[in-house]
């Protein structure tokens, strides 16, 4: 075993880690935004708002992420008529896929806000969007935080799947180095540790947040 292969290629591996983190962060923000829209839409009473949201959420959640990644990788060039870079196509796939899971978190968060809050908000003559914005969502967000962080950890780990369409993120970077240097053991142990440090750190952070928020109630 020769662990020198790690420091020798550290620059390339760190670049991969950078792509992984960027992909995870951008996808997190955008999929959360999509999740809020789809989550609220699912709670709507009007069927033409409610049904598309249900269809989107249930369809995406029944399919493996890897299929969604392939979909966008093949479909976007067909629809737009020009090739798209791997990173962009992976990003769109992640946003669409995680958006469905975020939507369920948002829905659960909103439903956890006591019904009396809605009545109180409506009785002070707030419109429905105002009520959502100023009364329901802030409280729902607090209840959602632990699940959101968990979902972010899942998303962070899932970015390794961008490997499959050739995005040079951490896993792809490691496999490239491993093929060149023929040192699979060292490299895969190294990236396993790298993923672990981030994911475990995030899960501790979520525990911390949880404790702090539950004190305030």
């Amino acid at each position: 075993m020769d662990w020198n292969v790690i420091p020798d290629n550290l620059g390339f591996l760190l670049k991969g880690l950078g792509v992984t983190l960027r992909l995870a962060l951008i996808a997190m923000v955008l999929s959360f935004a999509l999740g809020i829209i789809a989550g609220i839409a699912r709670l709507a009473r009007r069927p033409w708002v409610h049904l598309p949201a249900v269809l989107y959420i249930e369809l995406v959640r029944g399919v493996p992420l890897i299929m969604v990644i392939f979909w966008f990788y093949f479909f976007i060039p067909i629809i737009t008529g020009r090739p798209m870079d791997n990173f962009g196509s992976a990003l769109i796939a992640f946003v669409v896929f995680e958006g469905a899971y975020m939507a369920e978190i948002v829905r659960a968060g909103i439903q956890s806000v006591p019904r009396g809050q809605v009545d109180a908000a409506l009785s002070t003559n707030l419109t429905t969007p105002q009520m959502m914005r100023y009364v329901i969502l802030p409280q729902a967000l607090r209840n959602m935080l632990p699940s959101l962080v968990t979902q972010f950890i899942v998303l962070f780990k899932d970015t390794s799947l961008a490997y499959i369409i050739g995005v040079i993120e951490l896993t792809r970077a490691a496999s490239i180095v491993s093929q060149r240097e023929i040192r699979p053991f060292e490299l895969y142990v190294f990236i396993a540790m790298a993923y672990w440090v981030f994911a475990f750190g995030l899960s501790r952070l979520s525990r911390l947040l949880e404790n702090r928020l539950s004190h305030r109630v």
């Binding site: 493996p64 392939f70 067909i78 780990k157 896993t171 053991f185 895969y188 672990w196």
Partner: protein
């Protein structure tokens, strides 16, 4: 593609069994009164849960055989190392997640929740089914792999991917329906139907 479906099911089934055994063991360990045994369970769960599944598969396929003796490695290659690496990777990873489900089940008050957790443990089977799609990366000819294969033979990417997706959807719905039946059978009358959360 039928071959792919069979491989997907076989893979998910075997990995599910392995994960069930590991999960029961780890979950039970984490509820024991001895600190040392509890720590082993916790380390297992925290260690395996926080590493991407894909990295697990690569590790078991590319890296782990390296430390084995040469003769054993050759034997492995002859006997379909891709498939068993995939089963091992999926099982070890899902075992950590099942472990958490069982722990919650054992710790929560009486039998009612143990049974509820059994049914959640089963619905993670759906995740396992979908996760088995990653086995394509190490060359197991499961459904996603076959989809790609069909696509490169016929150059009809759209149709192949659409068919693959549809099959996954159907499989997931079937698993969900089966688990729903299990859940209803194990349910304490009235508890699930009223939609009560475990805490009441």
């Amino acid at each position: 593609m039928v071959q792919g479906v069979a491989a997907t099911l076989k893979l998910s089934g075997l990995a599910w069994l392995q994960a069930l055994v590991i999960g029961l063991l780890v979950g039970a360990l984490r509820t024991l009164p001895w600190r040392f045994l509890r720590a082993i369970g916790t380390v297992y769960v925290e260690f395996f849960r926080n590493i991407p599944l894909l990295v697990h598969l690569f590790f078991w396929y590319f890296a782990a055989p390296e430390v084995l003796p040469q003769a054993f490695r050759e034997w492995l290659v002859e006997h379909g190392v891709e498939f068993w690496s995939a089963v091992l990777g999926l099982g070890v990873y899902s075992g950590a997640r099942f472990g958490e489900v069982f722990r919650a089940g054992i710790q929560a008050v009486p039998r009612a929740l143990l049974e509820a957790s059994a049914s959640t443990g089963l619905s993670t089977a759906q995740d396992l089914l979908k996760n088995s799609s990653l086995a394509l990366t190490i060359g197991v000819a499961e459904l996603t792999f076959m989809t790609r294969q069909v696509e490169s033979y016929t150059a009809r990417g759209l149709e192949a991917v659409a068919a693959g997706t549809l099959i996954y959807l159907v499989l997931c719905l079937v698993v969900a329906a089966l688990m729903g039946r299990v859940e209803r059978r194990l349910a304490i009358p009235g508890l699930i139907a009223r939609g009560l959360s475990p805490e009441g």
